[in-house]
Symmetry: C2
Subunit: 214 residues, 2 copies
């Protein structure tokens, strides 16, 4: 699959490397594509870099992996996203670093992104998954991590679910895009456990245990 | 262990039944203890009911399982909680039923409870676990659910962690009580998946996958 990535920070690079190694065609969009090209060469990846607009035009699927404060400008720079599957992998950050507490937020970041990215088929995914965990391998003994996703376009969701599954993850449908309000706060706990509680992000992931439905 | 329970709604009853069947001494505090006694008899449990104050005096450990709107009055009715281990099993509910989005909340419910319950050793636990799941059994194939907890008193946390472990759960320490801000939003997703996404609460639980730390 041709995957364009908007944002070349640590998570953008991790997703780019992860999907490049999995055999996808990657264009890693950056504000500093030359520096990203050096990183690609150092890593020995089959991938290339370009502008946000080039990443958008390139991708059958576009991953949005920007810091919240930079997201409106990044979407602006991306050009038309109409008709594109836009996978929001980001999170709005709250006051004091506590996601969704104390920031006065009334809707999810994913819903705001859908407003900004006119005509895009927005699916939230990867927002509570560490890139370093993906690169360290998706197996935890006999378990693999769950990957929650939500969105309003069923065809786009099916494409994303297939991508998650092929990546060794366990897709969990959380319904419509507005349910990003439930999914985004998961990132706060994940970051807290990884960075404050001594686990290291590469060593932890969520699993939704399920058993036979009655 | 002598466990007092403040609140006899569906979660209070589920925890009472779960811990009574596990051999603990239970006093289920209620505003309608007579009705709870009938339920105890119907269930054939070794347990008893009483007022919130009686549950508080009885318990070496007190579970708080009330609806958010009723919590201040319940704590008032409970009498002195000074020195008690108070396990907050509740969640503040937000506007539109979306926890922690759109409710203008600046701190966690658990921190507010610690302010209201003067001198209590507050530990948040069980807030994103379905009572019906506990009663249906804590095994999911070879997995068991994680139980996140946090609090400011290390001895109280150790008691709660032991209780969680003995109950067949996998305790995960999330640090200080303020980190309830990360844990309470988990309940929103759990309720959404159980009630809106067709799983049924008894069939789902979170697991935090971990692997060897480097």
């Amino acid at each position: 699959m041709k995957i364009g990535i908007i944002g070349s920070g640590s998570m953008g690079q991790a997703l780019g490397k992860f999907f490049a190694l999995a055999g996808h065609d990657i264009l890693l969009g950056s504000r500093t594509p030359q520096r990203v090209n050096e990183w690609i060469a150092t890593e020995g990846l089959t991938a290339r870099s370009g502008s946000y607009a080039e990443a958008t035009q390139f991708g059958d699927l576009v991953l949005l992996v920007t810091r919240w404060a930079e997201t409106p400008a990044a979407i602006q720079a991306a050009g038309s996203l109409a008709g594109k599957i836009l996978v929001d992998c980001s999170n709005p950050s709250g006051a004091d670093g506590f996601y969704h507490v104390g920031d006065g937020r009334m809707i999810s970041g994913a819903e705001e992104i859908a407003q900004w990215a006119s005509g895009a088929k927005v699916v939230l995914a990867f927002n509570s998954i560490y890139g370093s965990m993906l690169l360290a391998g998706t197996q935890f003994g006999d378990d693999n991590p769950s990957a929650f996703y939500c969105g309003d376009d069923e065809n786009a969701k099916a494409v994303v679910a297939q991508l998650l599954q092929a990546a060794g993850l366990d897709p969990v449908d959380a319904g419509a895009l507005k349910n990003a309000r439930y999914l985004e706060p998961l990132a706060g706990l994940m970051a807290h456990l990884g960075e404050n509680m001594g686990w290291g992000g590469e060593n932890i992931a969520y699993k939704l245990l399920r058993r036979r439905r009655d």
